[in-house]
């Protein structure tokens, strides 16, 4: 087990990501921030509140998107239980920033984009991630904003801990024994 980001580093990284968003999207009148259910929402909650603080705009469109019904592995694993989608605004013609914690194969983001366009036609979609596992992509998807890049092999696992649910902010790399 190896710590990739400790609490202190994580805070700095989140601040940087939020500032990058503010830099590109101020004043957020045409931008919506959308966290991907279920695990991306801790990151998106943090980013959304940081962005609001930095920009001084408390009315930024922020929503949650569940992608369960858009997955491409419905029949290969046990059925996934859906989470709530909550997007109380239109994304038609907006700049959308999708947020997920770890970018791995890219399949979740593919599903998220499919789900997203069922709600309307955004002008532009960007991707923000905390961790980018490079060299493990199965689809041509890259983040526009990234916290930390890591080179991993298949048997390893990246685990993100959040203060809200796990009592600490930390990102670790776990070595799992190959099956």
């Amino acid at each position: 087990m190896k710590t990739l980001l400790n609490s202190n580093l994580m805070n700095i990284t989140l601040q940087r990501l939020a500032h990058q968003l503010v830099e590109n999207h101020m004043p957020f009148t045409d931008t919506a921030i959308i966290g991907i259910q279920p695990r991306g929402i801790y990151l998106s909650n943090r980013i959304a509140s940081l962005v609001k603080k930095i920009s001084g705009n408390n009315n930024i469109d922020y929503g949650l998107l569940d992608i369960t019904f858009y997955r491409d592995d419905v029949h290969s694993a046990d059925i996934h239980v859906p989470s709530d989608t909550n997007m109380p605004f239109s994304i038609e013609g907006k700049n959308v920033v999708l947020i997920d914690d770890v970018l791995y194969t890219g399949r979740t983001i593919r599903s998220a984009m499919d789900a997203l366009i069922d709600f309307g036609r955004p002008k532009r979609v960007e991707l923000l991630t905390l961790i980018d596992r490079r060299f493990s992509r199965e689809l041509p998807i890259q983040p526009d904003y990234n916290g930390y890049s890591v080179d991993t092999i298949l048997t390893q696992k990246v685990k993100v801990y959040w203060q809200e649910t796990d009592g600490k902010d930390e990102v670790v790399l776990l070595d799992k024994v190959a099956p």
Partner: protein, 312 residues
């Protein structure tokens, strides 16, 4: 995590977690149904056959809509009367359909237990859309879901099921479902339409409809199953409507506002009057709307893990 069962044969076989999971998933689908694009691509690789050996318009329509909104391909097979009269056995009929690469079967059949028989003889998942006088599980799920939407947690809530209990698969499924969710159930109707041993299922019997209405929070008024009665069970529809039908006057004489439900199709003026069916207390159309979401949830949750394509 999916359901504890491979088929939905009846509510009897479900546990509370299963029911809660179906409701939770239905919440999500209900959300989908309120979007401009009321459709998801989840089951675009799945074909569902609706096999109806008994006439049904609304249940089949509801299932078909649910399947299409999940992105599934749908085939319909209807044979009024029994398969027996056509000379083909149920197994043959269904195997024929499965040979066309169908993944799930939704079946309505006039014989109690027919889905059990089918489940023992074919591999595909089966959803019971009503079997004889036994169960109609998706109807009970949508009824309980609609009640919960209106009243919150059903524990301790009082539900009266009125009318033809004996010939109703909705009644039995409702009783199982409501029992599991902790509601109290009273059945009410003419004694000839109430099975003799119904109390063994943990419900109470009240022959006086007015008293049952006074007692309950929700009244689920069942259809008189004229087509399923073999024996002389009541005199005339006129007498039934007068003494067992639910009308506005009766409801007005009760202190509280009770929720009125009906699984349809309604015999207006027989078991329920239009002034009740179309009143504010009625959630009959809400039931219909919830039916699609509940059926989407059931189909989705049963579509789970599929065996590797058969080695042919």
């Amino acid at each position: 995590m999916g359901l504890s069962v491979k088929h939905l044969l009846g509510i009897k076989e479900l546990n509370v977690q299963d029911i809660e999971q179906i409701f939770k998933t239905a919440d999500n689908f209900k959300q989908v149904l309120q979007r401009p694009i009321k459709k998801v691509p989840t089951l675009r690789d799945t074909t569902v056959a609706n096999v109806f050996f008994e006439n049904s318009t609304r249940t089949r329509l509801s299932f078909e809509l649910a399947e299409k909104r999940l992105g599934a391909d749908v085939v319909n097979f209807s044979a009024s009367g029994s398969s027996v009269s056509k000379g083909e056995t149920l197994i043959d009929t269904v195997n024929n359909i499965l040979a066309m690469k169908v993944d799930m079967v939704v079946m309505r059949h006039s014989a109690s237990g027919a889905p059990w028989f089918l489940a023992n003889h074919i591999d595909a998942s089966i959803i019971n859309a009503g079997d004889g006088t036994n169960e109609h599980p998706t109807q009970a799920l949508l009824d309980a879901y609609s009640m919960r939407e209106k009243l919150g947690d059903l524990r301790g809530k009082r539900v009266a099921i009125l009318g033809d209990i004996m010939h109703s698969r909705v009644a039995l499924s409702n009783i199982y479902c409501l029992n599991k969710l902790g509601a109290e159930v009273v059945v009410s109707g003419p004694p000839t339409l109430i099975p003799k041993h119904i109390e063994s299922l943990g419900v109470k019997v009240e022959y006086n409809v007015k008293k049952a209405l006074e007692w309950c929070d929700v009244a689920n008024v069942l259809r008189i199953q004229l087509e399923r009665q073999h024996k002389p069970l009541f005199s005339t529809l006129r007498e039934y409507a007068m003494y067992y039908g639910v009308n506005k006057q009766m409801l007005d004489s009760i202190e509280k506002d009770i929720v009125i439900m009906h699984p349809g199709p309604i015999n207006r003026g027989v078991e329920i009057n239009s002034d009740v069916a179309d009143s504010k207390q009625s959630i009959i159309l809400g039931q219909v709307e919830n039916g699609v979401a509940i059926r989407m949830a059931v189909i989705y949750l049963l579509s789970g893990k599929r065996e590797a394509e058969s080695q042919l």
